[in-house]
């Protein structure tokens, strides 16, 4: 059984409980495979939790969930050392971050202090509590959700923190038909608990290794760099995509290529993913907002004007 078949099974499994969100599932899975994290921005009630749980279940991963509130402390995320009077020692009680797949719900509701505790863990794949560093078990995948930032009582994530997410997704409401189907299934449907796991964690780790070996041809790399450069040159953009963003796009494209059954990246992969990888990495000037231009639109425009290099054969 090759990677593509395994991954298709995972997606099919998620689809049993999630209706009509194959694309989001695919992208999330791609982020998982690339070793990145996902920022999911959407209103409550569209099935974010359901999807992450289904994903965790399918890959036999340990699922953890943190509901962020304004009064949540970093220790509530990372874990805390508690004095045990019996052996007269401090024992570390790992927080919810110590899982394979972590759903960080409404991350922008909590204080920046707590936010950064999570984000640091995401970046380092380890946590430091009381001077002691502990590795987070692999695979480690955080899916953070946030309400659209215009909402009341939120602490918007700073740019540097946003950069830590591989992709940013929007779930979106289901279509009318899909919602009808949701209602129909809600009564008798397969519950999330009964969902069987499809692949083991070991298999998942193997696939993650495969992703790193997906071939990225030189012209593709130059295309990615061109795209990143163009975001930095756009007049509406205050801060363009960082080199970390270019790396992210390449990694995501590798994972996505494997997901679609290829062992090499095509420009189409890059084009498809650019929006998801770049949209939270460009900071727009105020003029953009006045003109009603969104980051997605700018990326779209860059994509249409950046020439996709066709390999020249002269040197061969």
């Amino acid at each position: 059984m090759n990677a593509k078949e395994q991954l298709d099974k995972v997606l099919d499994n998620i689809e049993k409980v999630m209706i009509g969100k194959r694309e989001v599932a695919e992208l999330s899975l791609a982020a998982l495979l690339a070793g990145g994290h996902v920022l999911l921005e959407d209103v409550p009630g569209v099935g974010k939790t359901m999807m992450v749980r289904a994903l965790a279940k399918s890959v036999s991963a340990k699922f953890k969930r943190i509901q962020f509130t304004p009064d949540l402390l970093p220790s509530d995320v990372l874990g805390v050392s508690i004095y045990n009077p019996r052996d007269m020692e401090f024992h570390f009680r790992p927080g919810p971050i110590m899982g394979n797949i972590v759903l960080a719900d409404e991350i922008n509701r909590t204080s920046p202090k707590t936010q950064s505790a999570l984000l640091e863990g995401m970046e380092e794949s380890s946590v430091t509590v009381d001077g002691e560093t502990m590795a987070i078990p692999k695979p480690f995948f955080v899916m953070a959700t946030q309400n659209p930032i215009e909402y009341e009582g939120t602490y918007p994530l700073p740019e540097a923190q946003l950069d830590r997410f591989l992709i940013k997704l929007k779930m979106g409401y289901p279509t009318r038909e899909e919602e009808m189907e949701v209602l129909k299934r809600s009564g008798q449907s397969v519950s999330i608990e009964s969902l069987a796991s499809v692949i083991s964690l070991e298999e998942l780790l193997e696939i993650q290794e495969l992703v790193k070996r997906v071939k990225v041809e030189e012209t593709i790399r130059s295309y990615i760099v061109d795209l990143a450069l163009h975001t930095r040159e756009d007049p509406y953009v205050y801060l363009g995509v960082s080199p970390r963003g270019s790396i992210a796009l390449m990694k995501a494209a590798q994972a996505y290529a494997l997901l679609t059954g290829r062992d090499f990246v095509k420009p189409d992969d890059v084009q498809y993913l650019a929006k998801f990888v770049f949209r939270h990495r460009v900071i727009l000037r105020p003029e953009a907002r006045y003109d009603g231009i969104t980051a997605d639109e700018i990326i779209e425009r860059i994509l249409t004007k950046t020439r996709i290099p066709v390999k020249r054969l002269a040197g061969r």
């Binding site: 041809e217 090499f264 990246v265 095509k266 420009p267 084009q271 249409t304 004007k305 020439r307």
Partner: protein, 729 residues
């Protein structure tokens, strides 16, 4: 599928047009090779095309054609009926003889019958080829092009005149091309045809071709920008003095046909002859008497030629002078004429082998004969004594002397003028000569008139008179630019219009003095020296030559026997003495002595044809640019066979990139940010194929995946060829 090829009427039209095109091929062949029995060949072509049209099985049509060929051969070459012992014997002998001749390479020994048979075979193949082009390829352009080139070349280089043929060919060809384009278009787009629609499609085509042809015929046409290139090519090819050749057909040089004067010409310094003479002479060949308003012709009078032998004194209508006799010696170049050239005052001719000289009083030409048939003499000696005219006698001439009974018999033809001659020519002549008393002075006045500064000597930019236009009138009043023919003809016409008998004389001017032999001067006379001048009849004196062409100084020898009444007269007369030419014709000036090396010839060629060369280069560059711009049309035809021979992965990648560029040229270019796959989808949607997606997947696999799979190219090639050939349409 309801293909256009199945449409009988349409296809019949095509075959008819092809037949007409073939007829245009046959016409010049029949004319030039004096092949009779044209209808026999036409029937063969028509029959073959008909059988091809009705798709008669090959064994029936083949037999029918073979039988017809046999019959035709027997019909043309013998009286024998088709199926008889004699006829088979006849054919057998012919073929035997011809094959033997062929094997021994005695090409001329091949019998006419055999040649005709081969010609039939050629026609057979031609018909087959055309049938193939029409029915399968739906394309005729190559054949059409060859037809035009063929007729144009024959028209230029042979006596065949393709004036009407080229118009017919254009019309036929445009129709054929249009119809076939329509057919191809319908096929490519798989458009089913309906009976009524065919007429609807054809009508605009016929209207277009009809109107454009009619407009082209009716509209006025500019003269050719380039003069007839043939004389130049022949003279250049012949070089200094190598190959023997016939007199070139062209504007410059001696040419018998003067019925259509005018038009520019290019210089030609081919040496016609060298003459040793005491002084420069005008070398007369003949004169002409009928002016047709376009040119000159000879009247059809039954003048008995007078025969003379070697050294026998010839009686001309111009008497030789009384001075001591001189001899001139002429050695011809590569061009030979069946007549002799002679100076004024000629008495007799002689050459190494005795010959016969036939003097024709009608045009004063002296044909040379030996043993009853004409021949072209190479060297001959002329004894002559320059005639001299008494000025007194000339001044005594008056119009009264020219009353009809005083005029020698038959001289009224030298007063002929076309009825269409515009009155203003006459008025001009009368105006110029009104103040003069004697006929001689009147003639001189006309001769002088051309030197008044109003007229320009030029060999180029000289028009041919249009329809209804008089050659002389055009020159005198409109263009005022021309060469000897314009000046001399105008003078003759003006002389005649005031009643002085005059004739138009042709020959060569004195040429260039290139040295001396003994005590005689040696002149080299080239085609550039071909000349025409005037002889006027002075009653009581005889024929006197005049030179109206500016830049030429030949004139009659005048004996100043007058009591000097005015100074002016003598001065004027002195200036008239035959002298060295003040000025030779322009092309003559750079003439050099002796042989000319290749380098010299080449640089002269460059100099003379700088414009043409530039134009040629420009045309070539334009041609290359056209080729480049039209590469979309022809490139696939080159690429397909090229890549058929290629193997390996790299060639696929190259082929794919070629396809991308070709698609771009076709007009569906990949957009800036468009990936190959989405572009491929668009292309496939556009053409209704799946080939591009297939090719692109393989290309991406090879390039991005780095997985070369050379075996696949064989499977992909069909898709690639399919796409790239679509783009050339």
């Amino acid at each position: 599928m309801n293909s256009i090829r199945k449409h009988k009427g349409f296809m019949f039209l095509l075959y008819t047009l092809v037949f007409l095109l073939l007829v245009e091929w046959l016409a010049p062949i029949a004319t030039l090779t004096a092949t009779g029995y044209r209808s026999v060949f036409l029937i063969f072509i028509a029959g073959s095309l008909l059988m091809a049209f009705f798709r008669v099985p090959w064994w029936i049509s083949g037999t029918a054609k073979a039988v017809y060929v046999l019959w035709a051969l027997l019909f043309i070459f013998s009286e024998n009926p088709l199926l008889s012992r004699e006829s088979f014997g006849f054919l057998g002998t012919n073929i035997e003889l011809s094959l033997a001749a062929l094997f021994s390479q005695q090409w001329t020994e091949v019998t006419d019958l055999f040649r005709t048979g081969l010609f039939f075979a050629l026609l057979w193949m031609a018909v087959y080829l055309l049938h193939y082009w029409i029915s399968f390829r739906l394309s005729i352009f190559v054949f059409y092009l060859f037809t035009v080139v063929f007729v144009a070349v024959l028209d230029t280089f042979s006596p065949y005149s393709g004036d009407a043929a080229i118009i017919r060919i254009m019309v036929i060809g445009l129709m054929l091309a249009g119809l076939l384009h329509l057919a191809r278009w319908l096929e490519n787009h798989r458009i089913p045809i309906q009976q009524e629609a065919v007429v609807g499609w054809l009508l605009p085509l016929f209207l277009m071709v009809g109107t454009s042809a009619a407009a082209a015929l009716l509209l006025p046409k500019a003269d050719a920008i380039w003069p007839d290139p043939v004389p130049y090519f022949t003279s250049y090819a012949e070089g200094g003095s190598m190959a023997p050749g016939k007199p070139p057909v062209g504007k410059i040089g001696y040419d018998q046909d003067d019925s259509q004067l005018g038009g520019s010409f290019i210089g030609d310094d081919t040496v016609v002859f060298r003459a040793e003479a005491g002084s420069g002479q005008y070398w007369k060949i003949e004169s002409k008497d009928i002016y047709t308003s376009k040119g000159w012709e000879l009247s059809d009078i039954a003048a008995e030629p007078l025969l003379y032998g070697d050294q026998e004194e010839i009686v001309f209508d111009i008497e030789p002078g009384n001075e001591e006799e001189e001899t001139a010696f002429i050695a011809m170049g590569d061009e030979r004429f069946p007549f002799v050239l002679y100076p004024y005052g000629t008495k007799s001719f002689s050459m190494e082998e005795p010959a016969e000289y036939r003097y024709n009083p009608a045009d004063q030409r002296i044909g040379t004969y030996r043993a009853g048939s004409t021949f072209e003499p190479y060297m001959y000696e002329i004894s002559y004594s320059e005639p001299s005219y008494s000025l007194k006698a000339l001044r005594a001439t008056s119009l009264e002397d020219l009353s009809m009974d005083a005029l020698p018999e038959g001289y009224d033809r030298y007063l002929q003028l076309p009825e269409t001659l515009p009155q203003r020519v006459r008025d001009l002549a009368i105006g110029i000569t009104a103040d003069e008393e004697s006929l001689y002075e009147k003639a001189q006045a006309i001769e002088r008139y051309f030197a008044s500064g109003e007229f320009t000597y030029s060999q180029t930019n000289v028009p041919v008179p249009g329809e209804g236009q008089d050659y002389v009138d055009q020159f005198l009043f409109e263009t005022k630019i021309g060469y000897c023919d314009n000046f001399s003809t105008s003078m003759v016409v003006m002389l005649r219009s005031i009643g002085i008998p005059a004739r138009w004389v042709k020959g060569f001017a004195e040429g260039e003095e290139i040295g001396s032999v003994d005590d005689r001067e040696l002149f080299e006379v080239t085609n550039n020296n071909a000349h025409s001048w005037v002889e006027a009849y002075m009653p009581g004196v005889g024929w006197v030559m005049f030179e109206p062409t500016i830049g030429f100084s030949g004139s009659a020898n005048i004996d100043f026997d007058l009591d000097l009444d005015t100074e002016e007269d003598s001065e004027e007369a002195a200036a008239d003495r035959p002298d060295k030419p003040d000025q030779n014709e322009p092309a003559d000036r750079d003439e050099e002595e002796g042989g000319i090396g290749f380098g010299e010839r080449f640089s002269r060629f460059l100099e003379q044809f700088q414009g043409m060369l530039l134009l040629g280069t420009a045309v070539f560059a334009a041609g290359m640019a056209m080729l480049y711009l039209l590469r979309r049309k022809w490139l696939p035809r080159v690429l397909i066979p090229y890549y058929r021979l290629r193997r390996g992965d790299e060639s696929f990648e190259r082929a794919y990139l070629h396809l991308l560029r070709q698609l771009g040229r076709y007009g569906i270019e990949r957009k800036e940010g468009e990936t190959l796959s989405s572009y491929a989808k668009y292309i496939d949607h556009f053409f209704g194929t799946r080939d591009m997606t297939k090719l692109t997947a393989a290309y991406e696999q090879a390039v991005y995946g780095g997985i070369p799979n050379s075996e696949e190219w064989r499977n992909l090639r069909e898709s690639w060829e399919n796409l790239i050939s679509r783009t050339s349409g």
